[in-house]
Symmetry: C2
Subunit: 148 residues, 2 copies
């Protein structure tokens, strides 16, 4: 897929990754292996607190290696299809709406063992980095809502 | 929707939020207002580096107030439908596959101005908290892949 156009403003950035049906067209190259259906977003969007990748696995596809992390917690958010995640040898069934947190040290692997596309989002965040959160980090200006 | 069951292991946790078609059944209560179609996940999953919410807006629904953040960068990941995001008065059109980073200080608002469900994921991460990321934070054990 061609290079993504990023729209930026003073306090925001936006990218269009396409419909989920287009995600299989992305790929990344690692030493000795290409991973289809993956696009990293941190550098594209100028993210400062997380890495995000969008991901697609077609039927029968699988990660070709285990991996661990050093500092980062990962979260896998499954948004279409079904598959399996293996964590320290334990196998979890996942599907649309499954969300899995994985600590840095765990050995992880995943696959699409179904007959339809598996689409998911993977987050990397620094373990124990979040301070206040939810509505506690927010404030609401006194300003009537307007769409102009 | 009834309380979610969380499966936990030594280095992981997993929750089933249901198909996207079930997300409208969630809601959160804030002082003076209920927000339909929203579920926060940090406390459920024991996340330490991010807050995540899953979200659904039905046709015509809109956030009833602007908000800013103090310390947290937000990322909106749109996975179904279409709508609009307003950031410091600028209006962005978003749809399935749109991903928007918003800095803490920006005033933000969003709505579903279409005739179908809008589903999206919102992340809160501490601004500038991420160190190494992507494959640089990972290591690959010398171990043959096995699904047992």
């Amino acid at each position: 897929m061609s290079k993504q156009e990023v729209k930026t403003g003073i306090h925001f950035s936006q990218v269009e990754t396409g419909d989920l049906s287009q995600w299989p067209d992305y790929s990344i190259s690692l030493p000795g292996v290409d991973l289809p259906g993956k696009l990293f977003l941190k550098d594209l969007l100028g993210l400062t607190g997380c890495e995000i990748s969008i991901n697609s696995m077609m039927p029968g596809e699988s990660m070709p290696f285990y991996h661990r992390h050093h500092h980062n917690e990962e979260v896998y958010i499954f948004i279409k299809g079904q598959g399996q995640v293996q964590i320290d040898g334990k196998i979890l069934d996942v599907k649309e709406g499954s969300i899995v947190r994985i600590g840095p040290e765990a050995e992880r692997l995943w696959r699409n063992n179904s007959d339809e596309q598996l689409a998911y989002i993977v987050l990397q965040v620094k373990e124990n980095s979040l301070g206040q959160y939810g509505v506690d980090d927010a404030s609401v200006p006194e300003k009537a809502v307007s769409w102009g």
